[in-house]
Symmetry: C2
Subunit: 520 residues, 2 copies
Amino acid sequence: MAVVVAPRPREHDYGKAHLPEVTVTYRPPLLKRLPLGRGVSVIWAQMDVFEELERIFHPRSIAVVGASAHRDSPGHDYVLSLLQYGFQGAIYPINPRLEELLGLKAYPSVEAVPGPVDYVISCIPNRGVIGLVEECGRKGVQAIQLFTARFSETGREEGKRLERELLLRARAMGVRIIGPNCMGLHYPKLGITFRPDMIAPAGPIGFLSQSGNLLFELNYLGRGRGLFFSKAISYGNGLDLDEADFLRYFAHDPETRIIGAYIEGVKEGRRFWEALREAASVKPTVLLKGGRTEGGGRTASSHTAALAGSYKVWEAAVRQAGALPVKSLEELMDLLIAFSRWTPAKGKGIGVVGGGGGRSVLAADRCEEEGLSTPPLTAEIEAHIAVKAPDLAGWVTNPVDQSILAGSGVGGAEILALMARDPQYDGLVAILGEPWALGRPNAQAIVRRVAQRFLEIGQGIEKPIAVVVNHLDYEEEWQWRLLMEVRRELVEGGMAVFPSVDRAVVALARFLAYWEGRDS
Amino acid sequence: MAVVVAPRPREHDYGKAHLPEVTVTYRPPLLKRLPLGRGVSVIWAQMDVFEELERIFHPRSIAVVGASAHRDSPGHDYVLSLLQYGFQGAIYPINPRLEELLGLKAYPSVEAVPGPVDYVISCIPNRGVIGLVEECGRKGVQAIQLFTARFSETGREEGKRLERELLLRARAMGVRIIGPNCMGLHYPKLGITFRPDMIAPAGPIGFLSQSGNLLFELNYLGRGRGLFFSKAISYGNGLDLDEADFLRYFAHDPETRIIGAYIEGVKEGRRFWEALREAASVKPTVLLKGGRTEGGGRTASSHTAALAGSYKVWEAAVRQAGALPVKSLEELMDLLIAFSRWTPAKGKGIGVVGGGGGRSVLAADRCEEEGLSTPPLTAEIEAHIAVKAPDLAGWVTNPVDQSILAGSGVGGAEILALMARDPQYDGLVAILGEPWALGRPNAQAIVRRVAQRFLEIGQGIEKPIAVVVNHLDYEEEWQWRLLMEVRRELVEGGMAVFPSVDRAVVALARFLAYWEGRDS
């Protein structure tokens, strides 16, 4: 029997008049709605880090130190991003050589800012950061995020020494550090982000990443499929606040339903594992590890000074904590989307429609290779088909070969609707806009109509349905546009869309196996 | 010591005046240029099937039986395809209810055609095929290709009986059968294809497929990356001419340098294996098996009546024959492109440029997981970097993290050029148009310039270089267009382009391992 020690509900108010959105009513984060992992009897309510990160994610004001008028520089990007993404708090460009930037008054130093400064983003060279930390301490800044790099990741003694000093000085001054060598916060609800094109609406995914670029890629490649963040953080070298802190924060963050992470190395194994277990026991948690091999580890060391460690040990620990290890950005994206968009489900039986002959055979193979099955059509479905197309009954099977249906009067979506109601099928794969369809004279009409049917069916059922819309790799503009638009409609309608049958099947397999292992 | 029994050179002339392109001078197909597999001492010169298929692939005239004025039907598609793709021989629509079709005179029957008919495509219902075979026999037709389906693949006794009778009658009349239940020939050089949008220039890949749809998909998804066929054949149930025949044909076809196949089941194991060994000993041969599992096998049976058999046995046999087994359409495409575009190479050392921090770490991991390595930069390359950017020497490593280079004056392409000349690197991965680059203010110029540099470097070296251009999955039209256009430039320049780092690395790994296992 699981016993949950939840933190007592409380209220933060970081200045209602100034920034009304940031009033956060803290509630135990979905603990009752989500099942607990096996063998986890107590959820530790370590609220200190939660409170601290809650404050950090809700700054009343942000100063960008090293703000720049040069369009292709981070000192410009940060200011522009906050403005364009709609941050409602004060934004202070800091640069003694600037009067103003993008219509904002600039200040020569953090201390020169008249009002309070909660959060500082540093884009200055590394030699200036010790002075900046001291200044921020005097000003009462809560946290400094350092885009500034060239610390221990350079492999040089000088960089390591500077990093150690940075940590000691920050601790002495009571300022928390995010980074160094990172992009920092992304929080759609408050309009905080780090690049003007790092955009998307708010969603349920909390993400922590040692690579800012990977977080950016995840947003770029995932947003067309509805991969949306509640909050995300790129934390680079993780000198002060680290992976364990962020995991714990997301575990308790009521805006986060699913947790994802890209991690190259872990500072303290035990502390990390406990935070991971805490997170994974209440929310689906998917982890991509960088530095799984010797070469990867060497690269990680020059990237974020991470000590990569053994991947076998890592994978075993992640599984034991109840989290989901993945090895590629693609699988990470697919699982985050699956958990964002599907309600919990168990089972192994998969129904597949929409592919041609070869594709149907390969889909069945992939299902079985991933531990799923493709049960033949039930007698009831066969009987339904027999009414319209007597020739097909007993021949057409699951996966439903679209080329057999051609001209029969029975459509793939029709069979999908029958499968959706049939308890034999625990999950569905609905393939849309395959080349065979794009080549038809009335391709646009067919593809849009079938998309609409898939959407209706998907919205009417609880079981997970993976709609496959191929990559938009076409050279013909109308084909790219057609697939892009139907994908958008499906995503806006709440569907989980995958760019290939194989990827849909892998996501379904891991999703169903995850809930199979839970007590709910 | 390998001994090759090559067929004597000969000439076919199927009517020069009528169809000048089809004069084929037969030469031993590249046997001298390509290394032989281990333990293969004799290449059997079974030229009967070769001659027969050579004739079938070079028809002077094609009749489409069941030709139709209905735009969305195969009887219309075949005629339109031949016209649009530029078949220079005679095209005869056959349909007693038509006077003409698409400007061509129609005939009520094959026998009513005034001149000779070499090749017949059947789109009529299955009940008419026995009569058609007899008619074709009387007319002296060489081969009938049956799009017509509903034979043994229906699982019904009636269909099986009809199929047996079809074979017996065809043998008795001296007519060869392609199919039934297939799309038939695709031969760019002669302008033969089966759908109006099944198009692309001629290339080096001979392909045989039990699924017409899969062959179509391969063309649709692969042509933007330069996956071009010498000849391809969709052969469905393979009732008469089968996988062994087509393999043998491609083994000796001088227009084919690489062989690919999608096979669901094999009729005679020994004969198939010998043909496969024959093919694989002279040309890289890549096989995708459908029906690897019970569910896949069941689906294959309803698709092409194939008996799928054990996958383990299959995979072992394929490897023993010296061919390359793959399990997905994606890997099939990637290997066919790799072998089309790279000259033979061995080794394990891979140089990677163009990715951000996380991507570089993950690239190194994937290399090692695939049996490759990412050797650190040589002292020579480090020295070169040190001249321009002293700070980076000893820090930047391989894979080259683009974010470390930012603002240093040293570009990724510059390091790639150094790696291209360094014997430590046996293969290269050059990443282009990643999200980090698309987000910059001058993205278009940067991406196009770097593409040009990659192209120059690639064209100047013998070692395999995989250029990664992400899937065109963007919603912004300019991003789709930019990546589509640079991809096209690279492909037209002869480069092998892959849609992700992982897929590039897997292709490199299998390509290098393939040649490692050869004596050349």
